[in-house]
Amino acid sequence: MRETPLSNCERDFLLKGIQEKKRLDGRQTYDYRNIKISFGTDYGCCTVTLGKTRVLAQVSCELVPPKDSRPTEGIMFFNLELSPMASPGFQSNRQSELLVTLNRQLERCLRNSRCIDTESLCVISGEKVWQIRVDVHVLNHDGNLMDAASVAAISALCHFKRPEVAIQGRDVTVFSPEERDPVPLSVYHMPICVSFAFFQQGSYLLVDPCEKEELVMDGLLVLAMNKHREICSIQSSGGIMLLKDQVLRCSKIASVKVSEITELITKALENDRRARKEGGKFGFAESIAKERITVLTREEAPLDTTDIQATADGIISKADAPPEVVPSPVIVATGTGQVGEGLENTWGLEEDDEEEEMADVTERKTKEDEVMVLSDSEEEEVVILNQDGRSKRSQR
């Protein structure tokens, strides 16, 4: 099926909106959509949702002979796939231009930045090394696939554990997870892509473009950076001329976004690790919010109402003034939390209204330890304290 074409009225409207600093979903220029990271029951399985964009990454490993040129290094293999499930415009088993660019960018971001210690993947020099394969599947396309894919891939790599091996002479024994605990990969740093869309020959800039914004943009700048503010790759497409200042400004924005996202990933990994250790429930099924209202009517549940009046009066007499009611239909389940979904847009509402929702977000975060959120309307610079301490943890 063909891709839905863009009509003239949409194009005009979007460009006019960008000029007036208005985006379709009520975001500010530098805001990301809500990011949610959840892990599967297997090691190395991760889905990332970025607004409506949804990406799944799965890491797997295999013992293979190394490349002749690098006999002591393991092999990293990245594969990104666009299926028609993501968008009817995508065709499977066809190399589209978008697919090639995304694959190449993902490789540049993760392999060429040497974020994974490939030498530790060597089993017997020149004979057997681990090949780590990262498959990224796009489940839904609503723009900015690159950022979602890079977050998913690096989170999955951090989450992955390969089987332990023992070498006796020439014999290699691979232990099953029951026999010996699998070992995680050593990750030096986490490069994350941040996309910038440019409009009207570079005079307007947006972070995290959605699908419609991607259709009208003139150019795209993808910056891959880690939280130490090291640029891992930079790619500009669409053939627009950018000034030095613009690129520098983008890198500043990227550093803020990357530190936020890195924190989110470490938090998500930490939550998952804790859930596994405590023997709690984990995996995708747990991360899905249950009882979210998706239909128009719900059946009334039968209730025991015998002494309800007395209890209610008792509660009312004891309780303080009722707190502000937040009209959100979201009920977050244990497992993974989510924020933003189901909340109404705050377009045209007063500022304090938004703050109230933000307060709710943080409150929920503290309430449920499993929740990881990235609130999307923080514009101020984030200064990372204790940077070294955290980097040690990520390397561990």
Partner: protein
């Protein structure tokens, strides 16, 4: 004559799934009725197969007096149906027809003579990328669907090219049907916030235009968020927006 209705009766308003069967005994129906044979109309999601009716969509079974049955399902992919009015995007001009994207599996064709007052000499002014509100006159699974922008009397009747300014977005087909239902509460509630123009196509596309970009966006976002809301929640939201925006 009630044999057919009775097999449906218990399930009206209930969720049915593809593969569910409604059975009725044809022979008994014929014997009973010296009166005119009873007919029922199978709407979307129901199909007759011999002496049974099969369900082929998941959703809620609906009934309308006297004898109409259909399945109210949630879907986003549009399948052209003859007689339905849709919003299309003109993708190409070739010879004497326009190619129009309606969100179906195939592009529809629209003759340039199928506009009000159009003749061979007097061509309508349609550019690639324009929006048209048009009606299907041919829509079946084996042929290219065909659109027209005139009714049977040759009048435009609201159809034709539109959409200077304003914004087009997509919602689910269920929401569109709810918007188009006569006396739709959603539209009435929305009208109270501020004035705006709206075109709703049965293919899930909605075009809105209000006074400013801001207001258009508010309307579009409100409509999108109506998808999974109860009437109460909706009213509460609309009220908040009306207070905040005005």
């Amino acid at each position: 004559m009630n044999a057919i209705h009775s097999c449906f009766k218990a399930q009206i308003g209930e969720v049915v799934l593809p593969g569910d069967v409604f059975q009725f005994d044809v022979s008994s129906v014929e014997e009973d009725s010296n009166i005119k044979s009873e007919k029922i109309v199978c709407g979307p999601g129901l199909r007759r197969n011999g002496d049974e009716i099969l369900v082929y969509k998941s959703g809620i079974l609906r009934h309308k007096q006297p004898s109409m049955y259909w399945i109210d399902s949630q879907q986003k992919r549009y399948v052209p149906v003859k007689g339905e009015s849709v919003i299309g995007i003109v993708t190409a001009k070739s010879g004497d027809i326009f190619k129009v994207d309606v969100g179906g599996s195939e592009q529809a064709s629209l003759s340039y003579l199928a506009f009000e007052g159009a003749t061979k000499r007097n061509r309508p002014n349609v550019q690639v990328g324009d929006l048209v509100y048009a009606q299907f006159i041919i829509a079946n699974k084996d042929m290219e669907p065909e659109l027209v922008c005139i009714d049977s009397c040759g009048r435009a009747n609201g159809m034709g090219v539109f959409g200077a300014g304003g914004f087009l977005f997509k919602v689910s087909l269920g929401l569109v049907r709810r918007l188009l239902a006569p006396q739709s509460e959603m539209v009435k509630d929305l009208e109270k916030i501020f004035p705006f123009e709206m075109v709703v196509g049965l293919n899930g596309r909605v075009w809105v235009k209000a006074k400013s970009v801001q207001q258009t966006l508010i309307i579009a976002n409100l409509l999108e968020s109506c998808e999974n809301m109860t009437a109460q929640q909706r009213r509460a939201l609309f009220k908040r927006v009306a207070e905040g925006a005005l």
